[in-house]
Subunit: 221 residues, 2 copies
């Protein structure tokens, strides 16, 4: 089983490297958003797309086991989107992303946001060719999640703590969650926000703006 898993991951890594080179050629920023189901990724994307209208060209690959619902929400928010259905699969793989890109044909110099299947385990292992993974953790899930799902928080560059409008109603320590995440991944960046109320979005937007600006066509190293 371990050997088969290693082979599957090696094949995925090779295809992810191909995606990464394609993004580099196209001078694009690609980000992979991961979270538990219902952490608010789609709502965050909708709001981000609306608020960046006219500033950044954003397109989206939507991962779900089934349905086109999220693709339709993203399109209604004003961004090109393609739905990838994984069937029994619990995560996106690099070859699915490659096929999605051929349909999506994102613009040169644009930003691609990949919304992975809601799952805090499997997507951690599968590189899609993204520059960075962003893990979204909602305050309703508990501040212990980083230590209980260490692989995902170790793989992420940025943690977005979402739904802070609900903090008065739940037992969730923002600083405790950040401490837990940094015990696993000392370098992880962290922000807290509410995609619904809009609180805290400015810092996330600054982060995205900065990453988009520093995209280069690097092939080596």
């Amino acid at each position: 089983v371990i050997e088969l898993e290693t082979r599957i991951l090696a094949k995925n890594d090779a295809l992810a490297a191909r995606n990464r080179a394609w993004f580099a050629g196209r001078e694009m920023l690609a980000l992979n958003l991961v979270s538990s189901p219902g952490a608010g990724k789609t709502t965050l994307l909708e709001r981000t797309i609306r608020d960046f209208a006219g500033e950044l060209a954003i397109s989206v690959l939507e991962g779900d086991q089934a349905t086109d619902l999220d693709r339709d929400r993203i399109r209604a928010a004003g961004a090109p989107a393609i739905q990838l259905n994984t069937g029994t699969g619990c995560h996106l793989e690099a070859d699915m992303v490659a096929r999605g890109l051929e349909q999506l044909r994102p613009a040169f110099g644009s930003v691609l946001l990949i919304e992975n299947v809601g799952n805090l385990v499997c997507p951690a292992m599968f590189d899609l060719g993204e520059r960075a993974k962003i893990v979204v953790l909602s305050v309703t899930e508990g501040d212990d999640k980083p230590v209980k799902y260490p692989h995902m928080f170790a793989a992420a560059k940025l943690m977005l703590i979402n739904k802070i409008d609900l903090l008065p109603h739940v037992d969730f320590g923002v600083e405790r969650a950040i401490d837990h995440a940094r015990r696993i991944n000392p370098g992880i960046e962290a922000m807290y926000l509410s995609a619904r109320s809009g609180e805290g979005l400015a810092a996330w937007y600054d982060w995205l703006r900065h990453e988009a600006k520093t995209t280069r066509s690097t092939l080596t190293g």
Copy 2:
């Protein structure tokens, strides 16, 4: 020795796949020109660059063991060019091309012509990520070259028989050369021309125009 060679080629193939994906992301056409030394590749490039001025954005990676002479000739013809020196090496490799691309930064949707080191043997084995290899055979070399250097003619999509202005002075059968090439590679396309006199260039230009038009951002398959 065979095992080491296999490992070197496997590593090169992986880097070539990365270059190919980068070209696809950038929607570029990349061609790899190979020949014996002195078959007229640089002269053909100079003329092609001048004749396509204003129509196709062409840039060049120049491979030579030593000197920047060809790069300077290409720049004088009006195209951006970077020289790659291979030292003791008899061919370009994919990682050299990657480093060259970072310096060259060819335009989106443009055409990259890679002039390999003059050599009818080694460059045949090394994929650089190009769409196609073009082998240039000059009539002064003899029409038996395709059967004597079969790997190169098997690897090429197109054979350009060059220096046909010298045909009256040498014993070279154009049809014989094409027959020899097709014995090795039944699908090879063939044209004859003189980069110096300009005879036959129109067919080569049509071929290049057609290839440039059919470039797509394909990632899969």
